[in-house]
Symmetry: C2
Subunit: 194 residues, 2 copies
């Protein structure tokens, strides 16, 4: 079933990705498809989850920097493979609220799983206990997405490791401490003024 979604997405693009097209291609009864996935967003969310495996856990290599580098290598591979599902979904997310929601759900799940990387670094005493896992993961991966997806530039193969290095240096220095109450208050005041 998910094979049918991937094939349909890669061949026809998001425009031709409909519940009926996927049902026809897979041979599964339309009623079943609608009952199981509700809408295209549901299908896309499952394809994304399936891409790395539902039992995906972040690499465990012994240090914050090498763990982040290993995650970045997976991101790099996912974004540079031919007919990348990730890139197709990011493109689709600008045209479909369902696709955007599927991506958001996928990333939220991955950030939650990757938090283990930062928790282990805290346990090892590599970084301060108040280090913000989500901020670390986003900072480590964002330059890859920016370079490959938005700038559409070839990222040299060292970018994954360099970003991991830069973020881990900053994290060890305590630069990823969760915003304190003071900052939260300033943030709330700032948005109130807009």
């Amino acid at each position: 079933m998910l094979d049918a979604v991937r094939a349909q997405l890669v061949e026809g693009g998001f425009d031709l990705l409909t519940m009926d097209a996927v049902a026809d291609r897979s041979g599964v009864h339309r009623t079943t498809v609608y009952r199981r996935w509700r809408d295209v967003g549901g299908l896309l969310a499952d394809v994304l989850t399936d891409a790395t495996g539902d039992d995906w856990r972040p690499p465990q290599t012994g240090s914050l920097e090498t763990d982040l580098a290993a995650v970045n290598c997976e991101v790099h591979a996912a974004l540079t493979t031919d007919s990348s599902i990730s890139t197709a979904l990011i493109a689709a997310s600008f045209r479909s609220p369902q696709a955007a929601e599927a991506l958001r759900t996928f990333w939220a799940d991955r950030y939650a799983r990757c938090a283990a990387i930062v928790r282990r670094a805290i346990d090892r005493g590599e970084v301060p206990a108040d280090t913000d896992p989500r901020a670390v993961i986003i900072a480590a991966t964002a330059p890859l997405y920016h370079t490959l997806v938005l700038l559409r530039s070839p990222a040299d193969s060292g970018l994954a490791a360099r970003s991991a290095h830069q973020v881990s240096v900053a994290a060890r220095a305590g630069a990823f401490a969760r915003p304190s109450n003071e900052l939260m208050t300033a943030g709330a005041a700032g948005s109130g003024m807009r």
Copy 2:
């Protein structure tokens, strides 16, 4: 003329942005429009450049961290304003090679101008002389693009400053040194194996 492009883009989206539509809306003769801008990519590039002013220079606030924070505040404002030209162009870049090229050109120009921030920091002795300006600017701004454009989450008003802080901590520690010859060789070998 650029007002006509902006109005057309915001009202009709990228689908309805054509040279002829812009000529009609602006009252400028079609021949003139084609001669001056060649294609929609040319129009979009000029709109982007115009958005910040052709004489735009990065803020000069006295330190790497506050300079990066000031740039990030501009990025944050550009991405969160109603009917953001930046967001419309990023969306368009997934459907039009011209729009993608316009974005790439715009960002290349901005990175080149922002290099002054890093050069000043080098002159002040804040960061090592081999610090890579482009890598610093991308690392500082990427989390904002990732959060606001790809995750479509509201970035709290502190994110701009926190990203600037994290990147400047890493840069001061020498983590943004240009890749050495050794790394460049490893990179070339890596891509050769793909």
